[in-house]
């Protein structure tokens, strides 16, 4: 027990590394919010475009969605950061992470929004169009507000997954929370920083885990 506290919850180490972890947390938060925003936007745009039912465009969207739902995200990070420079696209670490998370998250959000849009009765679109609204107006003021109910629970749980995925940026050495913790783990020769990082994620994401479960139960009724 003493060894457990000394190694995992070492106060001296915590005091020494707290500023580094704070710096890392800031990067994690910035990365999470920007990628989440862009991924939701991308998913929403693609889902709406898919509703236009243009065969070629839909085929492209389906290939995109399937491909990035099948490809592990860490592989995507490595492709973007280590392979793209060979063909002249060299992104800084932060933007490589944003791009990877957006491409990956966009695929999942597209599926969620598509399911939401499809759950709305076709008659709604027809009625709105008959009233003289154009496609975009119909989407924005009739379909999407109703789809929100269906979308809310899976979108929350997917947002949670996206935020968890930001730690993969440590693999391309972006100094976010996980990377800072790993470095501190190395320099302090103590696993306390790793445990701290886990606790910070837990505190940050537990409410979201709970919220996702709550929404699922609530909206399933």
């Amino acid at each position: 027990m003493e060894s457990l506290i000394y190694n995992f919850f070492n106060l001296e180490v915590i005091l020494k590394v707290r500023y580094l972890l704070w710096l890392g947390l800031q990067v994690t938060l910035k990365l999470s919010f920007l990628s989440l925003f862009l991924a939701i936007l991308l998913g929403l745009v693609l889902a709406v475009l898919r509703h236009l039912r243009l065969p070629l465009l839909n085929a492209l969207i389906i290939v995109y969605v399937d491909l990035f739902r099948a490809l592990p995200t860490i592989v995507l990070f490595m492709l973007v950061y280590f392979a793209w420079p060979y063909i002249g696209i060299a992104l800084p670490r932060y933007w490589a992470a944003v791009v990877s998370l957006t491409i990956n998250g966009g695929a999942y959000f597209e599926e969620i929004f598509r399911a939401g849009i499809e759950s709305i009765d076709k008659g709604q679109t027809e009625a709105a169009r008959t009233l003289g609204l154009n496609f975009l107006q119909t989407m924005l003021s009739v379909i999407l507000p109703q789809a929100l109910r269906v979308v809310l629970a899976p979108a929350t749980s997917n947002s949670l997954e996206l935020i968890k995925t930001t730690v993969l940026a440590s693999v391309i050495a972006l100094p976010e929370l996980m990377k800072q913790a790993e470095q501190a783990h190395g320099s302090m020769a103590s696993p306390t920083p790793l445990v701290m990082a886990a606790i910070i994620f837990l505190v940050m994401l537990w409410p979201l885990v709970w919220l996702a479960g709550y929404l699922e139960r609530k909206l399933a009724q």
């Binding site: 860490i74 693999v171 783990h185 709970w210």
Partner: protein, 231 residues
Amino acid sequence: MNLRDLYYYFFNPKFFILTLPELLKGLLVTVEIAALSLAFGFLLGLVLAVVRVAIRHAGRRPILKVLNVPIVLYVDVLRAIPPLVTLVIVYYALPFISITIPRFWAAVLTFTVILSAFAEEIFRATIEAIDPGQIEAARSLGLSYLQSMASVVIPQAFKIALPPLTSRLIAVTKDVSLASVIGVADLLKKARAAQSLYANPTPLLSAALLFTLLFLPLVRLSMFLEKRLSD
């Protein structure tokens, strides 16, 4: 960016063929970790779910409810912490308290516990969704609690659980590629090594292709199951 660069660096047949045998060896390790974690995680999740439901069924004794707390904690913690963090803690932090696990098994253990947490949630929700009358009927026919669970409730719950379970299982199985971070010689690790060796990212693209070939049928399957159940 021009097409010649794209061909030379991303789809170079020479490096593709040269590195493929090593990549396939790595793929085998990836599949092994995935299969073991799937099997163990699935079973552990089911057991935890049954225990949790059984505790609820025996709910009149409040002392039993306390037993639920560790399960809830286990499930929530593992769902909130990113898998990479869990993996790194299992491999790098546990040895400090004298628990040393080889890389391969550290990966299997990590993905097993994460999978079991998600599986427990899904199984519990579906077992609870089965009409309690089913258990009562089975019990009145003389089946024991465990028998009625195993032969009446779980088979029915399983059918509802399948689509969300498959899609979650695939998501977690994809995380198996994280094992390269703790140095397991899996597909991704082999691809990265080959990329550095030949200064050409073709192996990385090949690995992406192999991963996609591995998971695409599963992604399609889960979408198919989801669709079929909702019809």
